[in-house]
Symmetry: C2
Subunit: 244 residues, 2 copies
């Protein structure tokens, strides 16, 4: 795994991997070969975001791209390799749309808000297709193997980036210094999952606004400003003090 | 839809429906017929919680129950009807494990906590199989038809029951009178989704504890006690007052 200029570990792109080896043959790929491969991955990504990674097959891809099965096979070698390439391509696009634009913002809270906003926007855009980080988690929950590993790795990288931004907020004195970053990350991720569930499946109105309110509630809960606000801070109750 | 003694609207059980009509034929089912039907639904539920509702087929069920295809078909008439029966059976079990035991507890916060605890426990038990309310939401997000409708109805009933319990907490002066019940429900549901995701797919340690902490954070945020706690209450900031 290499590093981006922003210290965000990046999974090598499909084309970079293809340039290194094509279909595991060890030969350098021609520009035309790379282009074809890229076209297959594009098509596969579209199919996967609509119907899941498990819906992908070499045969189905051959049909969708008007290629021969052996032609598709030559580019990937196996269905698993094809699925992994799709995950990597998805990861790249997720970075481009969610992560990199947020890095333009100020460190700390503005960046954390931008990450969440971009993530929400992507989740809303995906209402017409789907998020393979969510559908893949259902498809591969009880499997073992390289496809699940690639998904977990990709989500893990994204989580680590979010966690680092939360840590920055703590260092900058914006969130409580003793706040548990993993706890905050979990609560934020929960809101994305419920946004996806409510907007996409339940088709309930106001899902986006509820996710946004939930996010601001989390920031409020862990706000360093509130913790230091004298009487308010002192009388801040812990969960254990609430009536049971 | 009928009502339970606890004013929890209940979807008619598979057996009650079967007693009324079997396979849409209008004939009353024999005890043996009901038993067979119940056995098929049990098997189908197991398959669906492992592999999804979409994995169900009359043929697959015939094989799993050592029956003929026409034998299974006679009990349901269609794959859709079979899927709907499985959703209804799942709903019944969900009520039995999550909802009814919580009704034994005191009204208000103790009952809300019990609902969440039972829901969490069920989500953890299901780590070996799966929750069709979560996997079904992925499978049927962009479909229309009676199977999706049955799923949405079932989840809607469960949400309404949770919402009523939240309303009780407000009436009892435990949660802020002006708190938005749908907002609280969304935030609580989010934690179940993320627990399922982290524990089941990411297999990350401490997922249950983070969900529990998240839940107590929600209660804390909407606690009427804090809102009325004088200086703390007065200096309670809204999200808009936090630094942007």
């Amino acid at each position: 795994m290499s590093s981006s200029p922003h210290n965000f570990p990046v999974i090598p792109s499909a084309s970079a991997r293809a340039a290194k080896s094509l279909g595991g043959s060890g030969h350098r790929a021609s520009p035309k070969g790379l282009q074809t491969r890229s076209h297959i991955i594009d098509t596969a990504l579209q199919l996967a975001t609509h119907n899941g990674l498990e819906s992908l097959s070499i045969g189905g891809l051959a049909e969708a791209t008007s290629m021969s099965k052996s032609g598709v096979f030559a580019h990937f070698g196996s269905r698993e390799e094809l699925q992994i390439c799709v995950i990597r391509e998805y990861h790249q696009r997720f970075e481009q749309e969610v992560f990199f634009p947020a890095l333009q913002g100020e460190r700390g809270l503005p960046r954390l808000r931008a990450l969440f906003d971009n993530w929400m926007k992507r989740t809303s855009i995906e209402l017409d297709s789907g998020c393979i980080y969510i559908s893949g988690a259902i498809e591969f929950h009880d499997s073992i193997g390289p496809v699940r590993d690639a998904l977990v790795e990709s989500i893990g990288i994204w989580h680590a980036a979010m966690r680092r931004t939360i840590e920055q907020c703590k260092e900058l004195g914006q969130l409580m210094a003793d706040a548990d970053s993993s706890q905050i990350l979990t609560e934020v991720h929960a809101l994305i999952l419920v946004l996806h569930y409510e907007a996409r499946f339940m088709r309930s109105a106001g899902a986006m606004q509820r996710a946004l309110t939930g996010f601001e509630n989390i920031l409020l809960r862990y706000s360093a400003q509130l913790a230091l606000a004298g009487p308010a801070g002192k009388s801040r109750k812990t969960a254990q003090e609430l009536p049971q």
